[in-house]
Amino acid sequence: MAIFGLWVINKAGGLVYERSFGDGLPHLTSNEYLVLAGTLHGIHAITSRLSPTGSSSGAHVISGETFKMNILLTATGTKFVLLTSLVEPTADSMLQKVYEIYADAVMKNPFHTPEMPIRSEAFDTRITTLLG
Amino acid sequence: MSHHLFLLSPSDTPLYSLTHYSSKPSQSTSSPLASNLPSWSTSAFAGTLTALSGASSASQTQHGQGGTVKIGGGQDRHVIQMIANASLDAIEEVMRKESVMYLKSVDKFNEWTVSAFVTPGNMKFVLLHESRNDDGIKAFFNDVWELYVKTMLNPFHTAHTPIRSPVFDARVRASAKKHL
């Protein structure tokens, strides 16, 4: 029952925000996170084309043996990825709350240019209170 | 019996003016200026005053015909405006002390009494009238205030742009006809 990390990926597949919590997963360099975010963006697009029964959304949940990645794709193409333990029931509601904080603290902040890395520390503090 | 309304911006630039000839019979005819001069004043002084207020002699004749509009030599435009501007000082002086918006008959000149309405935004409505018609004027000022507030909400109207909207003009005339 733990949350390991949060990624925010813009609609072009670039990683604009990355936070890891606790030490459930090893901390990688920001460069590696960038690469992983890029591949995830590609995979997400492919998974929606492999559906055996017509059109389907991209991957929602990708799970390994000890952790899983919950993905929320928003209407504007931004992806929120929450890395949690396998049995985390609140992952989806957490993702919705993160999306709400993103809408409040990032999109309404005049000093943030869309699709660019997120620098606003209001966003940081509120994410820490929610997931920290 | 005529009324003159002036809307003055906080920096005292006129934004709107209206002359209204009221058809209502006036309750009390105000005595012409010459008569309320103190008896000891010399005739020379009286002469200048009558010239100054050409209005007074004309208004007497005008009472008789009631609503008919008397064009020509009657109330000179500049005299009216001079009276209105003169009354501004009185208004300023009273405005600081009293905290009420409607200042009843602030100033008197010849047969004109001036009553004013000052909005919180320091916008002055000055009305020159002859007869005493207290609640009519108060209701009229209230309507003009409401219309002014609505005009102010127009984002393109600043405190100093003259109000030229025909709807505003029509509404003010309608209210004047109703109340005065």
Partner: protein, 240 residues
């Protein structure tokens, strides 16, 4: 951390925005429910197809004429971005936000006064500075931000300075200023509103906004009012 109200609303700022329902159906706009001043334009009900103009809209705070706080936040963020592209420094940006606020302030003063006083027998105006400051602290803040300000202070060193303190100003709730512009306070927009209200009431002053965060309220802001000499002297004269 959830919001105090689920859908916070700023009411008075929104009055000029005609809600689409009213706009589309002129018939409904002829239904004036002005409890206070009998609206004089009932005589001329608008003909169908005539574009309803500003004089047909009621002045009172109607429920559906309110704008959601989110919409206002996005617009304010757009205003700041627009201004930021055209200024050459923080002071310039604050001055522009101040002038924008000033335009809103003049209208807030008139509208708020009309809403409070139009029903009164003898509508009143503030003529002394302290009651004016109090009315700003409560009425203007409630009219614009939906909640009264948190504190008023009189500065000790110089007599002509007063401060209105707001612990969590709604308009800068979503704004986090980057480190390199840390001295900027977007509340100079509010300072503009206060300056306009004071000017309207006859107390001309220079009003600036400053960030005064404390541990409990990171967004705490102080609106500093610096009165002009003439106002001070007049206050002294009127006191006696």
């Amino acid at each position: 951390m959830s919001y105090p109200q689920p859908h916070p609303r700023f009411s008075v700022l929104s009055n000029s925005s005609l809600s689409s329902a009213e706009h589309l159906s002129p018939a409904s706009s002829s239904r004036f429910s002005l409890p206070s001043a009998p609206s004089i334009n009932t005589a001329t009900t608008p003909k169908p197809g005539v574009r309803p103009n500003i004089y047909d809209r009621p002045l009172n705070k109607t429920r559906n004429a309110e704008v959601s706080a989110a919409a206002f936040a996005f617009m304010f963020s757009e205003i700041v971005q627009y201004t930021q592209k055209r200024v050459s420094g923080i002071n310039d940006l604050e001055r522009r936000l101040n002038t924008l606020g000033y335009r809103i302030g003049t209208r807030v003063l008139e509208l708020m006064a009309w809403r409070n006083e139009s029903a009164a027998k003898a509508p009143k105006r503030e003529t002394r500075f302290l009651p004016a400051l109090m009315s700003i602290h409560t009425h203007v803040w409630r009219a614009v931000f939906g909640k009264p300000a948190d504190a008023i202070e009189k500065s000790v060193e110089n007599a002509d300075e007063y401060m209105i303190i707001d612990n969590d100003p709604p308009i800068t709730r979503n704004i986090s200023v980057p480190r390199d512009m840390s001295s900027l306070s977007c509340s100079s927009f509010t300072a503009g509103i206060v300056e306009a209200v004071l000017d309207g009431l006859g107390f001309s002053a220079r009003v600036t906004a400053h960030n005064t965060p404390n541990d409990q309220y990171p967004n705490r802001t102080t609106i500093l009012i610096k009165l002009e000499k003439s106002v001070l002297e007049r206050e002294e004269a009127l006191k006696t």
